[in-house]
């Protein structure tokens, strides 16, 4: 199991055990992390699972692909460390990953 931490907009920490191969978004939904809507269910089609990747993790998580960049155009308050959590797959190297939930989705 890989440990992930979601920090909700109000500062609440959600520490969850995630299965490798699942997406960060799926773990947010399973653990009822507030502020992740995932309207389209993970199809990279709605930009409502937008998160900020903690600065310490941006290099390991990597850059969004072109399709995700396109979708990020629709997200609220996009920053250089913005990602759509449905496009980040959990793997061993992400053990300890911290992501922050924006003030709102769209």
């Amino acid at each position: 199991m890989t440990k992930l931490t979601f920090i909700a907009h109000d500062g609440t920490h959600f520490d969850v055990d995630a299965e490798n191969g699942s997406t960060v978004m799926e773990n947010a939904i399973r653990n009822a992390v507030p502020g992740i809507e995932a309207e389209c269910g993970g199809a990279c089609a709605c930009a409502t699972c937008h998160v900020y990747v903690d600065e310490a993790w941006t290099a390991e998580v990597g850059e969004p692909e072109a399709m995700e960049e396109d979708m990020l155009d629709f997200a609220y308050d996009v920053q250089p460390n913005s990602r759509l959590s449905c496009q980040i797959k959990v793997r061993d190297a992400l053990d300890g990953l911290v992501v922050r939930v924006p003030e709102r989705q769209g």
Binding site: A43, A45, C46, A47, T48, D73, F74, D77, G106
Partner: protein, 343 residues
């Protein structure tokens, strides 16, 4: 009153569940008219993820979302449903005869004996960009679509976004507007490369301006914009003249005016029974993702089941006293005649 469109059943939403409702209602001889806010049938399947495969449609190990919509349209074609696109239902009132009058945002009037809400996640509406105070300008100097190009004549126009809508309107409104500034958060565009090249060519000719960044502040008074501040670009913060703004930030789903119809709601979903999928108002049904009942699963296949049961109840309302004979499409010659497959 003239111009009223009458139908047995008015279906709000032309997604997969709304489409299959036409089939089940059609087998019971009920005529359907569908209204959708999009410009095409299919709802989320067509708008959000047309190419994504769906794996849990019975009998289809894998089918693309658009493929499913196409098959449903083929399946309901014998019943000749009518469609009204690009419209949102706004008001609903009950008529003295027990039927309903429904009016759209463009003031078309429909009368139906039964109303079926199959609106999925709600109606798709333009997303409001994250600019403080933008609400005050909406409908006066900030618009989310172009109804008449003349409304932009002589204005300092700021268009925000990087998709086809943003680029197309940048090119189309440039000859009309006093000035055009296109703002996008990055130099890459989703829009067709041809439009992007045209835009860059016009920028070379100083016919318009393209700026990388995000609009963060608006200035103006009484709903009338005067300037927009763009941040994050290579030139630092820049204030540009702006008397009209067109943000294109995609679509989001909202329950919309249906929430004002006085139906019992459960966390923004419409509560229904599980026998008829009827709402708290007799004659108004809700099917698919927009309804809620204990154990509800937001699956297309659940919606298909719901419309089959709903159709039985709708038939009893439209044709009271008529005996409903339960029949199979495999063996009933009368159903096969309706489907146009009998000898």
């Amino acid at each position: 009153m003239t111009g009223i469109i009458s139908t047995d059943v008015l279906i709000v939403g032309a997604g997969p569940v709304g489409l299959f409702a036409v089939f089940e209602l059609g087998l019971l001889d009920l005529k359907c008219h569908l209204i959708d806010i999009l410009d095409k049938p299919g709802g989320q399947c067509a708008e959000l993820y047309p190419e994504k495969p769906i794996y849990d449609i019975p009998g289809w190990p894998s089918i693309s979302a658009q493929g499913l919509v196409d098959k449903l349209l083929e399946q309901i074609a014998p019943f000749k449903p009518e469609f009204t696109y690009n419209r949102m239902v706004s008001s609903l009132e009950r008529l003295e005869d027990g039927g309903f009058r429904v009016v759209t945002d463009e003031n078309e009037v429909f009368e139906a004996k039964v109303v079926v809400i199959a609106a999925g996640g709600g109606s798709f509406q333009p997303k409001r960009p994250p600019i403080p105070g933008i609400e005050a300008y909406e409908g006066k100097s900030v618009f989310y679509s172009v109804r008449r190009m003349e409304d932009f004549r002589g204005h300092d126009l700021v268009i925000v976004g990087g998709g086809d809508s943003a680029l197309d309107w940048t090119l189309n409104l440039q000859p009309v507007a006093k000035s055009v500034t296109l703002v996008h958060r990055r130099p890459e565009f989703r829009a067709a490369p041809d439009s992007v090249n045209k835009m860059y060519a016009m920028q070379e000719m100083k016919e318009l301006e393209f700026r990388v960044g995000q609009v963060t502040e608006l200035k103006g008074a009484d709903g009338q914009l005067s300037s927009a501040t763009i941040k994050g670009g290579p030139d630092g913060d820049i204030e540009v003249p702006c008397t009209r703004m067109l943000p294109f930030f995609g679509l989001t789903m909202k329950l919309g005016p249906v929430a004002e119809w006085g139906l019992n709601l459960h966390e923004n979903l419409i509560a229904v029974d599980t026998e008829k999928f009827q709402t708290s108002a007799p004659g108004i049904f809700a099917v698919g993702d927009i309804n809620w009942y204990p154990g509800k699963l937001k699956l297309i296949l659940s919606g298909f089941h719901e419309v089959a049961l709903m159709a039985q109840a709708a038939k009893r309302i439209v044709s009271p006293g008529e005996r409903i004979v339960f029949q199979y499409t495999t063996s009933s010659t009368s159903l096969q005649k309706k489907l146009g497959v009998s000898e």
